[in-house]
């Protein structure tokens, strides 16, 4: 057997203990390969992933990535052979490229717990949150949560074209770009001069140069037509933009946040089903004995770093240390299972919620010695 430094041995022992707790809760242990196909992950997360994951290659299989997390491999394995409902646990190293901060680990152990079960989503959300909370309870961490599903519902409910909603949905996870689009669509920022000139031109393609490359002349003409149609649309009404901004700035203890969201929902009925889901989740948490009065809800939580979480999102962090990553985090990722499922003949996906703990951080913070 290979020699392990005491520190690593402790981390692995802590990981094994955490995993055993999830096994006791009925989860089946799954393994995942360390090398995963880069193409599939890049199609899912986009080229930005290259800044966060290590890429390697050989001449036969092409580009491979050192797994940046377990989510995609676990969903793939489940879709190929799993029966539903299912719950899984795993532990192992993940690899994260670090180009900004040398102090951050580029290799660390994650222990995960995932539930694939559509019977009672509120109960499944609450169970994942409660089990991770118990696991990190002695560390005195601060819990924060959000709900991307409410933001998505708010976008759906805007009084504007499907194309504009699709653009906003696509950039929900890029707040600066999202804001710029809202400004444009609501008429708060003026149309760029070049766009104005293009739309005013009788023959925009005059002297434009030869058609080269895969994007065809048809596509250029099609987009000009789409831009003309968009320019003819009325702006998104100011009161809807104000409601959206009010929604994004909700930051309160969970029961108060729910009250505020219900107030906003009076004028924004599209979010009612999503806010009701939050209410049911809160009750399910209370039923598990969690003191919901102390939990913080932040509507914008998870928007910058958790693409493909499309409902409940949460994290347990060390208070006053924004430089440290979350000790535990997770959320609901139904949309990701639909994307992965498209490739595997299961486009309907699976209702899925889960989370991870970093045993290395648990030990560093003085837990489970």
């Amino acid at each position: 057997m290979a020699w392990l430094s005491p520190e690593k041995a402790q981390v692995l022992a802590c990981a094994a203990a955490l995993r055993a707790e999830f096994e006791a809760a009925g989860a089946v242990v799954v393994e995942a390969p360390i090398l995963v196909s880069a193409g599939d992950l890049l199609d899912l997360y986009g080229e930005d992933l290259r800044a966060r994951a290590y890429t390697t290659s050989d001449t036969l299989r092409g580009e491979q990535m050192l797994r940046p997390d377990f989510t995609v491999p676990v969903v793939e394995q489940h879709m190929k052979q799993g029966a539903e409902p299912a719950r899984y646990t795993y532990s192992g190293e993940v690899f994260r490229r670090q180009e900004e901060d040398e102090a951050r680990a580029n290799e660390y152990v994650q222990v995960g717990f995932e539930i694939f079960d559509g019977a009672d989503p509120a109960a499944a959300d609450a169970e994942v949150f409660a089990r991770l909370r118990t696991a990190v309870a002695p560390l005195g961490l601060k819990a924060t949560m959000g709900d991307i599903g409410i933001l998505m519902a708010a976008v759906e409910g805007l009084n504007t074209s499907e194309a504009r909603k699709a653009a906003l949905r696509r950039h929900l996870w890029r707040p600066a770009r999202f804001k710029a689009l809202v400004e444009r669509y609501s008429g708060r920022s003026p149309m760029p001069a070049a766009r104005k000139a293009l739309l005013a031109s009788r023959d925009p393609l005059a002297g434009a140069g030869p058609e080269i490359g895969l994007r065809s002349l048809d596509e250029v003409v099609g987009r000009i037509e789409a831009l003309r149609a968009d320019a003819a649309l009325p702006p998104i009404p100011a009161h809807e933009v104000e409601l959206l901004e009010a929604l994004l700035s909700v930051r309160e203890t969970l029961p108060h946040a729910l009250e505020q969201l219900r107030d906003i929902a009076v004028d924004m009925p599209a979010i009612v089903p999503a806010v009701d889901r939050l209410g049911r989740r809160m009750q399910a948490m209370a039923a598990r004995g969690i003191d919901i009065e102390t939990l913080e809800f932040e509507a914008a939580y998870g928007r910058t770093h958790m693409e493909y979480y499309d409902g409940f999102v949460f994290g347990f962090v060390v208070e006053g240390r924004p430089d440290l990553p979350a000790v535990a985090s997770g959320g609901r990722y139904d949309a990701l299972t639909r994307e992965v499922g498209r490739r595997l003949g299961r486009p309907e996906g699976i209702p899925a919620v889960g989370g991870i703990i970093r045993p290395g951080m648990v030990l560093e913070l003085g837990g489970r010695a």
Partner: protein, 231 residues
């Protein structure tokens, strides 16, 4: 017992670097035949000339194997993470000017800004079934720039040369490359996006922050800085 100065080993970049130092009383030259990659330094004691490929100078500075090096800002920022903690810009040499830009076909009259490029990338993926391809050799710089501007649904494809030809050859839809006059772009029916300038680069003298130095080396460096007129 000397400080090492890395200089590009061939072409105009080498000649202009030799000129720049020569005008300041430090004569750099290749020793022996034209084919031999070793050089000499006259006009100052204790400086050793190392002739290297311009692309390898950032790596050698980062490793501290050379103390000083002349290369493009573009290469340093592309190849070194947290470049400003690894090297110090001592002097811009006033040649080797090049802009790192993003360009698309001229006939894409509907695309003028990065926002347009992002919208087109989404539509392109929906229609063609794969992410819009941008050919480049500056992977890190381009990726950072596109992330900052909120562009999604693209992929970078590696192109180490003749990048402007990739669109016509249908191996990419757009290019991210350096240009000085824009002539090659125009000849290949490409145009620069109005907000597509990522970086203005020029030949620059860098100092490795982590290269080991003895007191003697520090004295030599101070003398060289004085000779070159660097504060």
């Amino acid at each position: 017992m000397s400080i090492k100065l890395g200089v590009p080993s061939k072409g105009r970049l080498m000649e202009k670097t030799f000129d720049w130092f020569g005008q300041r009383g430090v004569t750099l030259s290749r020793s022996g035949s034209d084919r031999e990659y070793s050089g000499k330094v006259e006009g100052i004691e204790g400086v050793e000339l190392v002739l290297l490929s311009a692309g390898e100078i950032p790596r050698e500075l980062n490793a501290g194997r050379i103390h000083l090096g002349v290369t493009g800002t573009d290469l340093v920022r592309e190849k070194l993470g947290q470049w400003d903690q690894r090297v110090e810009e001592m002097a811009e040499l006033g040649f080797g000017h090049a802009d790192l830009i993003i360009a698309v076909p001229q006939f894409w009259v509907d695309v003028d800004t990065m926002d347009d490029l992002d919208a087109v990338a989404a539509a392109f993926r929906a229609r063609h079934g794969f992410r819009l391809r941008i050919a480049t050799k500056y992977h890190r710089l381009v990726r950072d720039f596109l992330r900052e501007r909120g562009v999604a649904d693209y992929q970078l494809v590696d192109s180490q040369g003749a990048t402007e030809g990739t669109v016509k050859n249908e191996t990419a839809e757009a290019v991210a490359d350096i240009t000085s006059t824009g002539d090659t772009l125009r000849a290949n029916h490409l145009k620069i996006l109005s907000d597509g300038l990522m970086l203005k680069s020029q030949a620059t003298l860098f100092r490795a922050r982590r290269a080991p130095m003895r007191d003697e080396d520090r004295r030599v460096l101070a003398e060289l800085e004085e000779r070159l007129g660097i504060d």
